[in-house]
Point group: C2
Chain length 460, copies 2
Amino acid sequence: MQEKAISIRNLYELSEDQLKQLKTVTVVGWVKNNRNSGKVGFIALHDGTCFKNLQVVYDADKPFFNDVSRYKMGSAVRFVGELVLTPGMKQPFEVHATEAVLLGDVADDYPLQKKKTSFEYLRDLAYLRPRTNTFDAVFRVRSVLAMGVHTFFQNNGFVYVHTPEITGNDAEGAGSVFTVITDSKEDPINDFYGRRASLTVSGQLHVEAFALAFKDVYTFGPTFRAEKSNTPRHASEFWMIEPELAFADLDDDMDCIESCIKFLIQWVMDKCPDEMDFFDRWIAPGVKDKLNHVLNSPFRRMEYTEGIKILQEAVKNGHKFENNNIEWGMDLQSEHERYLTEEYVKGPTFLMNYPKEIKAFYMRENDDGKTVAAVDLLVPGEGEIVGGSQREERYDILKAKMDKIGNTEGLEWYLNLRKYGGCIHSGFGIGFDRLLMYITGIANIRDTEPYPRTSSALKY
Amino acid sequence: MQEKAISIRNLYELSEDQLKQLKTVTVVGWVKNNRNSGKVGFIALHDGTCFKNLQVVYDADKPFFNDVSRYKMGSAVRFVGELVLTPGMKQPFEVHATEAVLLGDVADDYPLQKKKTSFEYLRDLAYLRPRTNTFDAVFRVRSVLAMGVHTFFQNNGFVYVHTPEITGNDAEGAGSVFTVITDSKEDPINDFYGRRASLTVSGQLHVEAFALAFKDVYTFGPTFRAEKSNTPRHASEFWMIEPELAFADLDDDMDCIESCIKFLIQWVMDKCPDEMDFFDRWIAPGVKDKLNHVLNSPFRRMEYTEGIKILQEAVKNGHKFENNNIEWGMDLQSEHERYLTEEYVKGPTFLMNYPKEIKAFYMRENDDGKTVAAVDLLVPGEGEIVGGSQREERYDILKAKMDKIGNTEGLEWYLNLRKYGGCIHSGFGIGFDRLLMYITGIANIRDTEPYPRTSSALKY
């Protein structure tokens, strides 16, 4: 029976006193770097349990010196050795090897060599790239952020609902959905479910029904878009966070969004300081300042109508947008959103009460008859990262709208929620992968997803 | 601006002293029950934040008495009132209403009336059934159990990996997968991804690559089977938990499974005592004893070969199985598994080292040349609830196996993991919905999923 290995994370979590008591340790992991002077060698050992490496020192007087000096980058190895505190050095401790075992060698065609590789090149190596510093950091932060999502909502009493991936309706009425079929020769589309089945574009409608039972709920799972958008911000499969709050109006919704975003940023900065330092230094200089600014800002609430006036004023004063034709009723482009949050407010901004024509059917019509209680959260350096609304709770108004666009059929159940103990309710959606981009400063959504799915990319 | 409502859960969490300081409270929720004697009325108010209701008392001397006495079951309501402690009564406190507002009425065709309704009937009302006691309990436990999964793995240093839903390969080589297409007229199957795309049946192969970077990882997400199995245990969409541990053999795997199952059971019993009492009383009498027995048992480890001998002995001694033809090499049926765990061991049992012919290609071949390092966890009252294995880490052996069954093409990357710093590793899979069935005692998988997906059922 071999001694259990201690993880590198555990080592870094121990106090100096605890470390002193350890003496001999067994460690396992992969070689990140291996160099030697002929008299003494140093291996940077990485075991994936934290961002940091462990320095393993091997001496020329050890019988395994020659073997170990040939351990290649990427090899799986085990060391037994003495834990030695090294105060004043770059790392607080190191292991002086007394035993070494090569568990898994690396073939010569190993595609990850020491030379700097591009993100594009690594994207084609989705199964190996988590071994690189950048993706080690990205995917650990992805995991921590996901846990942050659950922690925030569960701590606030929200019930997690697994809304279905396969569905008979889609939330937005938009066209770009995937259809699910079987191998049936006769009727591949209708054979299994007896009707056409799609991959969900949103769990919102489904989760609204649960909000009217549990008050505060959220769904967090994969969603799909069959759009061939070859941009750095579009993927055909991504994760969405969709909370829904009963007995809550648009103000309550914004309160929740602000707490949520601040909580998640703080959570990642607290749990992943090494990873955030790495992003700040190598990937997106300034990203930590950007996030701290969000944490320390009250989120400004601004009417869409006011936003339009500000943009018109900016144009009048000589600001050049790609689209300088600012009119009430228009759907704002990213450049406009960014002007408002970056140049005008200089901080996170809720833009709210949009023209009803440019927003979804389920959003609550305001008393002015022209706008709906929709809200987008705009943040500096990005633009929109959250979209939400108060939902139309009035049966007659919602039915008239749905009849007009012709999506009542199949959604009678959704309408019925308004006549069986309905109440005001609100919710929002956060694209999880885009939030991860924002927090890490990673510029391409393909580099935030373990196995990204975009049109023409399905290698794994 | 209205006073913020306090949730019923919050009320139950307060100490007696805190409750005494509250005096006036605002509460919102739905009417579960409404009765009155002509002089005084009682509403059981439910707000979905916990299983318990709040008793609201309304007196005949209040101007709203007649209105409130007509509030129907299911109506959304708001009360302001005095919080009164009621020591010695069934509920520890109640609210004496001073204001009452009907927020959302209930139409006369409301399908949930007081009379007892069957699970089959409710299954067709997926959007309303979370308002019933049973489904209120089931879906709250589902949420709590999901949080337990994340808590267990994250607390133990596992990295959460979102493996893809859409994939070019499937783990088991089994046939029953859904194909994903677009509306393209010319080539709906290949148009989007340039090749046939399926919905995943398992994230295991994908997550193995991440275990070889992060050591301990898990995936937890939806998986799909296009099998028209019309049984109480099969759904076409369900959630799977798939952990993967590097530098871990089958013993380590079993250690992790045992800790995980015990943690999750304890977690639900600690967080959902009211719900578990409800299941124990109304749904599956004895379920709490069953779970406590698992918590208090060491899990027995037994060779498949020994299991076969025990079953043969049982037949010899007159035990009648549906299939009495017990031979080494057979795949055990549920009746056999249950005999071993319920009658012979009388406790949770790991059955391990199965004949290689009946197990998947990626499982590690044992030195006997006949068995693989696979394990199933069998529990009394159910049979198998977890399946796992040590994975084949030896390139040549795995390649020979894959060549033989012909699935090497497209999985070269999976094979390559064995030549680029590979190491022993193990993992397991837990069907989340089935685990929820086991813990709640709910007999049909359709009653554990918010919107169940089975063949011919896709109403929502």
